[in-house]
C-alpha cells in the first residue's frame, strides 16, 4: 500500500461525513484498504454505496477489499477556486477512475501530478492513501497516481 503525508489540496475543504451506509468504506481507507460494496445475492460490485443492490434487489450488501488499481475514465483541472480553502492554490487535477477488475465501478479522486501535466484517458493508475489524522473524526482520502 502506498501512502502520502503531503496533502493533494490545502486543508480546510469539507471532510467526508461518515454515515452508517458508508462507514465500512472509511474504515477501510483508514487501514489502507480500498473496500467497496459487493452484493451477497448476485455477487456484483456496487459503487457508490446504496442500501439495495440495483441488479437483484437484495439488501444483503457486504463489503470487499479490491485491488487499489484502475484506469483514468475522465478528468478535469479546475482553475477557478470555488471554496475559500482553494483561493490562491492554483489549478489541481480531478480524475474519474474506473476499476476494471471490480465491476467497472468508478471513483473520484485527485491525480497526484504537476498542475500542467498531460492527462490521458485510459492511463493506468494506482491508489495513494492520504490520511487526515488530525481531523475529528480522522479520515483517509484516496488519491491516484499514474503507474510508470
Amino acid at each position: 500500500m502506498s501512502t502520502t503525508k503531503t496533502l493533494a489540496l490545502p486543508a480546510g475543504l469539507p471532510a467526508p461525513n461518515q454515515e452508517p451506509l458508508t462507514k465500512p468504506y472509511w474504515e477501510g481507507t483508514r487501514a489502507g484498504k480500498l473496500v467497496i460494496q459487493r452484493c451477497g445475492g448476485c455477487g456484483a460490485h456496487q459503487w457508490g454505496p446504496e442500501w439495495l443492490c440495483h441488479r437483484c434487489h437484495s439488501f444483503d450488501l457486504g463489503w470487499e477489499e479490491v485491488a487499489p488499481r484502475g484506469r483514468i475514465w475522465s478528468w478535469q483541472r479546475p482553475h477557478h477556486p470555488v471554496h475559500p480553502a482553494l483561493t490562491g492554490h492554483g489549478p489541481y487535477t480531478i480524475v474519474l477512475v474506473e476499476l476494471p477488475h471490480a465491476g467497472k465501478v468508478r471513483m473520484v479522486g485527485n491525480l497526484l501530478c504537476a498542475s500542467d501535466a498531460k492527462v490521458e484517458i485510459g492511463a493506468d493508475v494506482e491508489a495513494v492513501f492520504e490520511p487526515h489524522d488530525e481531523a475529528d473524526p480522522p479520515y483517509t482520502l484516496v488519491q491516484w497516481k499514474v503507474v510508470d
Binding site: 475522465s74 478535469q76 482553475h79 470555488v82 489541481y92 480531478i94 482520502l141
Partner: protein, 394 residues
C-alpha cells in the same frame, strides 16, 4: 382507450418576466420578482391574476405557491407543484406539470415560473457546503469537486475526447448567445459583444473545455408563463402557442452515485428526447428554432446530440457561428441570448423566447417560425424538454 397525450391540448397564453439583473443587483426581493413576473404573464394573456388557480416550479424555488396565491388574492388554489432536481433540469417539466394539471381538469389556469435573487440568497457557483460533506458530496467535495461546473466537466471531457470534438464547437455556441443578445435590450449582456479572440483569451474555469465564456452567468430576476386549455387560448389577445410534446426524467440509473451512471458522458436526455418527439409526432428536422439551456456550452453540445440536432461525427463542421445565428442559420440557437447572455433565469427565459418566436415578435425573429424546441438544463437529472408550435402544426 383514447390516446394519452398533451399534444395540442394546452396553450401558453401569456409570458412575463422582470427586468434582468446581474446577480446581487436586483432592487427587489426574490418574492417580489416572482409576483412581478406572474402579473406580467397574466397581463400579457389578458387574464385577471385572480383567475390563476395553480403554480408549478422547479429547482427548489423559494417562492411558494401558497404565498403567491395569498399575495395575489387568488380565489381558489387547485394545483401546486414542485419538480424535484436542481438548477434548470425542470424548466420544461414545470410547464409540462402545469399542462398536465390543465388538461386533466385538476386546474384551469396555471402559472409555471422561476424566481431567483442571488444577492438575497446564496450563489450557485460557490461552495454552499459546511465543514462536512454528506451523501454523494462526501466522495467528491474533499477532492475539490464542488461546483456545478465541476460536477459536469468530466462528462464533457469524456465525450469531446471520445468523439474528437474541438473546443471551437463550444465557442460557436457561446458566440450564438452573445450575438443574439446584442439585439435584445432585455439581455444582461446587451452591448457587450463577444469575439472569437475575446473568447480564446478568456481565463480557464476548468481545463480542458471550460473557459469563462463557456459558463453561464448568475442573475437575479423572474419569469413566468400562463398555461390554459387549448380552446380558451383562441379567444385571447395573442396568436396561440401550443404544447406539442414534452417529457422529463432520466435514462437507466442516470443519477447513480459518485459519477457511476452507466451512460456517463451524457446530458441525460436519451429517453426524454425520444419520448418528447414521440408525443410531438415530430423530429429534430421539423424544428425551426432551438433554445438549448446553457449551464455550460459542453452541456448544449450533449443536449443537441441527444435530441438528434447534431451528429457527433460532424459536430466540428456543423457547430460554426453562421449555422447558429438567426435569422438565416440552419439551426438558429438561443435567439434571445439564452442563459449565457440574456439572463440565467434557469431556462424560463427560453420558454418565453420560444413563444415570442412563434408569435413573430422576437428580437431576432426567424421568419415563419412554426416549431420551436426548448431543451432544459442538461447533465443534471432529472432533465426535461418541450416543443411548441403554432396552430398550423396541430
Amino acid at each position: 382507450m383514447s390516446e394519452r397525450t398533451l399534444r395540442g391540448k394546452v396553450a401558453i397564453a401569456g409570458i412575463g418576466e422582470t427586468a434582468y439583473y446581474k446577480h446581487g443587483q436586483s432592487p427587489d426581493a426574490e418574492f417580489k420578482l416572482a409576483l412581478r413576473a406572474v402579473l406580467a404573464a397574466c397581463e400579457d394573456a389578458g387574464i385577471d391574476p385572480r383567475e390563476v388557480d395553480g403554480f408549478a416550479s422547479y429547482g427548489d424555488d423559494r417562492s411558494q405557491a401558497v404565498r403567491l396565491a395569498a399575495a395575489l388574492g387568488i380565489k381558489e388554489l387547485r394545483f401546486s407543484n414542485m419538480h424535484w432536481g436542481g438548477g434548470g433540469g425542470g424548466v420544461a417539466a414545470s410547464v409540462a406539470n402545469a399542462a398536465a394539471a390543465v388538461h386533466s381538469g385538476l386546474a384551469n389556469c396555471v402559472i409555471a415560473f422561476r424566481s431567483l435573487a442571488q444577492g438575497q440568497f446564496a450563489r450557485y457557483g460557490l461552495s454552499r457546503l459546511g465543514d462536512t460533506a454528506k451523501d454523494d458530496d462526501a466522495f467528491l467535495a474533499p477532492y475539490g469537486l464542488i461546483s456545478p461546473a465541476q460536477r459536469f466537466a468530466m462528462k464533457i471531457t469524456r465525450f469531446m475526447t471520445e468523439h474528437g470534438i474541438r473546443h471551437e464547437a463550444l465557442r460557436s455556441i457561446a458566440m450564438a448567445s452573445y450575438h443574439h443578445a446584442q439585439n435584445n435590450p432585455r439581455a444582461v449582456m446587451h452591448g457587450r459583444p463577444l469575439t472569437e479572440e475575446k473568447y480564446d483569451a478568456s481565463r480557464w474555469i476548468i481545463e480542458p473545455f471550460h473557459r469563462l465564456f463557456d459558463c453561464c452567468q448568475e442573475n437575479d430576476g423572474a419569469g413566468a408563463v400562463l398555461v390554459v386549455p387549448a380552446d380558451r387560448a383562441k379567444d385571447l389577445p395573442h396568436r396561440p402557442t401550443y404544447l406539442l410534446g414534452t417529457a422529463q426524467g432520466g435514462h437507466h440509473r442516470s443519477a447513480a452515485p459518485v459519477h457511476n451512471a452507466p451512460e456517463y458522458a451524457s446530458a441525460h436526455f436519451p429517453t426524454v428526447a425520444k419520448n418528447m418527439w414521440a408525443m410531438a409526432r415530430l423530429g429534430p428536422q421539423d424544428v425551426d428554432v432551438v433554445q438549448a439551456y446553457e449551464n455550460f456550452t459542453g452541456g448544449v453540445l450533449l443536449s443537441l446530440v441527444e435530441h438528434g440536432f447534431v451528429d457527433p461525427r460532424t459536430a466540428n463542421q456543423f457547430l460554426v457561428p453562421e449555422n447558429l445565428f438567426a435569422p438565416s442559420g440552419k439551426m438558429p440557437l438561443n435567439t434571445s441570448g439564452g442563459n449565457l447572455a440574456e439572463c440565467y433565469m434557469h431556462g424560463l427565459e427560453m420558454v418565453n423566447e420560444a413563444v415570442r418566436q412563434l408569435r413573430g415578435t422576437a428580437n431576432n425573429q426567424v421568419p415563419d417560425a412554426e416549431i420551436v424546441a426548448v431543451l432544459g438544463g442538461p447533465m443534471v437529472t432529472p432533465v426535461s424538454s418541450l416543443v411548441l408550435g403554432t396552430e398550423a402544426t396541430l
